[in-house]
Symmetry: C2
Subunit: 190 residues, 2 copies
DNA sequence: TTGCATTGAGAACGGTCGTTCTCTAGTGTC
DNA sequence: GACACTAGAGAACGACCGTTCTCAATGCAA
């Protein structure tokens, strides 16, 4: 914040961007993208409409930025939890259990966006695909080299647990998936 | 069709209902619920707007009826495939592989609806929960009595395979999930 | 034939949403 | 101090959507 710039001292474009993404993420994730209008985001963020459209020229850009930022944070958090673990695969499901237990958990934001905007803007679908590709790569590393089939199965377990948890909140699906993953790894000789 | 009733000879309420549900299912599943307006359904079905609102008093009723009919058909088809199989669990994933290979496959209609309308009309959420409960019950029967944990894991595999297939079409996720299921069943002593 | 109810076709209404415009007020520069 | 510039606040616009209404045409009953 550069106090010399007058108005911008109270809120420059960078802070406006952060506030807008914070509001967008909270509202879009909780209520869906189409259900939240730009006025809601304006009210919730405190950013004037004019600046909103200066930072994000259209709603589609805001949606793409929301998914992009969430993807980076989500993946970095999971990757951090896995990196420092002795049992990487177990760490994935422990991380999932904690995620599913968050009070405002509402499933995978990217799958929700896909279900809502599947045939819509290509930029959104791109972020969804990228998110899943990153998850797949992370699981391939956790499974160990030369275990592509196991990694594919782990991906199915992670996605399945997330979907089940979305409808029946709580960590139980993560625990069930963790047990399944342990069995599969044992069978794979890992 | 009772030809005596004049106009109704060409299309009575029952036929209108069928046509509307056919159009609604094709459009809602392919493009999303909010993305399809009532005028599209009117055009695609050939049912006049007045009769549309006579049969379904509001869009919400049409959406609920669409999900309800799809649930009945989907569950009956899967149940039929499982009932006549020597290996019920294997039959589930074989059925999934065929489903994933359909050219217009776009993931689970109920999860898509949930992601889109999660906080919306309660009637929709009810159908989604009912659909998943039926699937859970079917898998519990396939897993065999006294294997609740295995059934929970199978549910995760089915949901996970469906989600992965939605983003990367083709039967591969079903085959991967089938292999995982076989491993889990072997480990469970089934 | 003469009303009467019902239908189809589509215009119209009220509301919402994404986006732009207007107007006012404050800021920096000469 | 005059002036170009920018920002904020919110009204306004145009499009769309779910729903209702109008009106002429039709079938049926007496």
């Amino acid at each position: 914040m550069q106090a010399i710039l007058g108005y911008a001292a109270f809120m420059d474009d960078e802070e406006a961007r952060t506030r807008l993404l914070d509001a967008a993420e909270a509202l879009f994730y909780a209520e869906g993208i189409q259900a939240v209008g730009m006025d809601r985001i304006r009210t919730e963020s405190g950013v004037p409409l004019k600046r909103l459209y200066k930072v994000f020229p259209a709603k589609e850009a805001l949606v793409a930025a929301y998914l992009d930022r969430r993807d980076r944070r989500w993946t970095a958090s999971l990757r951090g939890a896995v990196a420092e673990a002795a049992d990487p695969v177990g760490a994935v499901f422990a991380w999932l259990a904690a995620w599913f237990s968050e009070p405002d958990f509402r499933g995978c934001a990217f799958l929700n966006a896909y279900g809502e905007l599947g045939t819509g803007p290509a930029a959104v679908l791109d972020v969804v695909r990228r998110h899943k590709a990153e998850l797949q790569e992370l699981l391939a590393e956790a499974a160990g080299a030369g275990r592509e089939d196991l990694a594919d199965q782990l991906l199915i377990l992670v996605e399945g647990a997330t979907v089940v948890a979305a409808l029946t909140p709580g960590p139980a699906p993560a625990h069930n998936a963790a047990a399944a993953a342990a069995t599969l790894m044992r069978a794979a000789g890992a």
